[in-house]
Amino acid sequence: MIKKTDNLNKNKIISRRLFVLVAAKIGLLGIVTSRLYNLQISEKQKYEVLSDKNRIREWKTPPQRGIITDYFNNVIADNQRVYQVHLSLEEVSNFNNSIFKLKNIISLKDDEIKKIYEKKEKSKPWDTLIISENLSWNEFSKLNLYLHELDGAKPVLSTSRYYPYSNDLVHVVGYVGDATTQDIQNKKKIEENFVPGLKVGKIGIENSKDSDLIGNHGTKRYEVNASGKKISEISYNKETQGENLRTTIDLEIQQLAQKLLKNQAGSICVMDIYTGEVITMASSPTYDPNKFTHGISTKDWNEIKNNKLRPLLNKSLAGLYSPGSTIKPLVALAALEYGIIDTKFKVNCKGHDHPYELYGERYHCWKKNGHGWMSMRNAIKQSCDIYFYEVARLLGVDKLSLIAKRYGLGSKVLEDFFSEEKKGIVPSTKWKKQVLEQSWYLGETVITGIGQGYIQTTPLQLCLMTAQLANGGYKIKPNLIYDKEINLDTIKSKIEIEKNKSVSQNILKDHEFKYYERLYRNPNNLKFVLDAMYGSTNEQFGTSFRSRHKEDKYKFAGKTGTSQVKRITDQDRELDLDLEEIEYKSRDHALFIAFAPYDKPRYSLSILIEHGGSGSKAAAPLANKLIKKILDRHELREKIRKDLKNIA
């Protein structure tokens, strides 16, 4: 215990010291107070003059958005010169009068005037209002003529976004619109560079890459007089343009894809099977992004929104479809990899009179008269359902799910690049227990084997799956923006190393794969499946035989798919209606996946036609034209690749 006397002593010291401290505080407080008195009372006049009579005004000048091009440097999102009229509120003596005069010079509609008044309510007396964003040259020249009568009105040359290939790329590039409060709060770059009238990306690349594209605003400082008129410019910190972006898209192929999809709802995706570059990502129907730049009219908006074919949905990555028979190569591969069956395994398909039966449930093949005895190659080629019911039953859904996920199903292809991208569903017993809280039925396994039931995929996932099969079974990194880090030669040499590596023990277990790592156990299994796909397109009785290319250099391999949107009843089977006789919403989705050229694969594609009927009739024929175009442009693309590499 400390002595009592010391405690007293300590107490005394602390109190004395506190006293000194308080005295010092009072002194400092005195200084601050006298300073405030000095500023606010004695020199008030001086500062009032500084504040009111001769203020410095700051104007932010809008940043310039970066340009977006396709792989071949064709501009797909441009900046266009526009004529605008702004109104500096400080210089306006009578607002109503000014608007009235302006209305007579440039044609302003009543609802536009209403909006201007609303905007004025929200703005501060020193703000500048944008009266019209996009004047015609006639209006602009007329405005200049009458300018002396319009106090505060300023003709302004500005730039705005313009999409030269309007409808063709909207699902990739997106569009811009006025920044909302939310946009400003969510993105720091927007907050920092906000100016009234700033356009920001709403969807697509414009949205995902907004922070790179936006650029930095400029700052102009003026000295202004009491009435707000500019006296002199003090400084001008020039605005800068945002980064220019090169996408991996090939404009010509994209345009062809959109043309092929015209008047139908659907999607076409094309990918480089090594670099993962998305060459085309078409979705139909489309709409014009230019309409959004200056605010879309209610009529146009309703037209887009109420279209039954849903143009706003980016079907390539946000549309979910049962993959149908396009899953069969993967089912076969999974069964071979796990050694469940070998390629000689046979099943007899006996037609609708003798369907596949399991616990009293009956499962039919699409072919009425049956395929007869089918081996694996034939079953893929002719797309026999009975065969795959049996293979799926033997394989089990969990093994199938594992291989399906490995080749790209069930996860976002472009990761978080597009907020609207969907993951889809690759069902497993665990999934069903967790999500639906039910146990799995064997019957569900059976239909998963032909890509029906719970399984849901996006067309882009099917394209990635095809790519990763066609490149020999290596994981690739899909991308939409040109990335100099992704180099074809490096990838090929990485794959070469992987190929010769001894296969890891847990290759058949659930396992995170790195990019360009091998995904398969036995290369012969992949070869077999790819060969069966070749048969499907290039041999008689193959489901896409009629869409083949006879010329060697265009030869491709593919797999059709027809995905049911509703259960086929016995009555439907009996009626066997033609496509035109079925109600649109009940028609099957048509699918096709392919890779080309067959002997040295380089590109993969997926085609989906919503309610198009059968895959071999509606989807596969489009591949024929598409693949010719893709391969014709191959040389040119490789040349650009080389040039870009040399720059880097």
Partner: protein
């Protein structure tokens, strides 16, 4: 010693505790808090949006926390003082590795609900830590080198960590708070004079290691017209805003200077500028008076506390609070260089609000448990 604490600990009924609460202090804090919400509202030109909403929520949450903390026994803070300090240091180290960078400095850690600025927490930790340190030392021992060296090391570690973030303003405030307690504990005046002289001599060296922007701020302070559009702009415009406020100010939401975008930190460091422009000399005096009353109440609580820990803590916290307020106001009226120091409670910023309310909570627990002897 801890044993004796538990033996001597007095029991308090809940009614006793409620009676012991300093309601006057709570009211003052509530008034300053309300003024701050209206000021932030004014920085958003009268829109109840992002900053105002955030500030209001933070004030209410931390104000509630302050009330709850008041009922934590003061001996708890005494016992955990060093732990508190160590947590502060660990968080500062964490900033180095996992910190978030903004405008050139790395000060924050993302804690999901908020971005925590550990240096703000350190401001309180250093006071608690030193109060405990000097609680036990006999007055005759204080001058010995051992007891001189230890606190200096304890003080230099956080200051160094904060300066390198870089955040000169907060480092100065931490150092100031620590020195205030060392002074109160009775360290001989000569040491203060010596170290003052050393600082003066080493000033050229210190300036040479400062970051360019810090240097320019200090040079600008001595001559604002050196670069009227760059570094001096803030000081000049802040002075114009305050000066043009006059006796009674331009009125709520009527400030014309403060809206200008050249005050990028109008809702944080320059909140006083905005307040002073809109409410004039009279308003500023009222606000300062409120702060003076707050500090007075804290000193009073220290005065009636039995333990040295409580005394040293209250006096130390009161001095620190004064220092924060003085540095901030002196800065915006052009008496000190712009170093980046928030005005307690008024400025927008969660960490600053958190640390002030935490500090006040401990003060209140000193009041409620004033009879606790804490092992004396």
């Amino acid at each position: 010693m801890i044993l004796s604490t538990s033996l001597n600990s007095t029991s308090y009924s809940f009614i006793d505790k409620l009676k012991a609460v300093d309601y006057f202090l709570i009211i003052i804090v509530a008034i300053i808090g309300s003024i701050s919400v209206f000021s932030i509202y004014s920085t958003e030109s009268g829109n109840f949006s992002f900053y105002t909403k955030n500030h209001l929520t933070r004030f209410l949450v931390f104000f509630f926390m302050f009330l709850v903390l008041s009922f934590v026994r003061v001996s708890f803070w005494y016992r955990q003082a060093y732990i508190f300090y160590i947590i502060g240091i660990l968080l500062l180290l964490l900033v180095i590795f996992f910190g978030i960078s903004a405008s050139g400095s790395k000060r924050w850690i993302n804690f999901f609900i908020m971005n925590l600025q550990p240096s703000e927490l350190m401001k309180i930790a250093i006071i608690v830590c030193f109060a405990r340190y000097y609680h036990r030392i006999q007055s005759s021992d204080i001058q010995s080198y051992k007891y001189l060296l230890q606190p200096i090391i304890l003080l230099l570690i956080p200051c160094y960590l904060v300066i390198t973030q870089p955040d000169l303003g907060t480092a100065i405030l931490i150092a100031g708070s620590g020195l205030a307690i060392i002074w109160l504990a009775g360290l001989n005046l000569k040491y203060f004079i010596y170290s003052g002289l050393i600082l003066l001599v080493s000033l050229p060296f210190v300036i040479s290691i400062l970051k360019p922007y810090q240097k320019s701020r200090i040079l600008t302070f001595f001559n604002p017209d050196r670069d009227p559009l760059g570094a001096g702009y803030q000081i000049i415009q802040s002075k114009i805003a305050i000066g043009s406020g006059g006796l009674l100010g331009k009125g709520f939401l009527q400030g014309t200077q403060s809206y200008l975008e050249f005050l990028p930190e109008k809702h944080t460091d320059f909140i006083f500028t905005l307040f002073s422009e809109e409410f004039g000399f009279v308003g500023s005096m009222v606000l300062i008076l409120l702060y003076v009353l707050l500090i007075y109440r804290i000193i009073k609580i220290g005065f009636s506390s039995r333990s040295f820990f409580a005394k040293l803590y209250c006096y130390g916290f009161a001095s620190a609070l004064f220092l924060y307020i003085f540095v901030n106001i002196a800065m915006v009226v052009g008496l000190l260089p712009i170093v980046g120091a928030p005005l307690p409670i008024m400025s927008y910023g969660g960490s600053s609000m958190l640390s002030i309310m935490l500090g006040l909570g401990i003060v209140m627990s000193c009041k409620i448990y004033s009879r606790d002897p804490i092992g004396n």
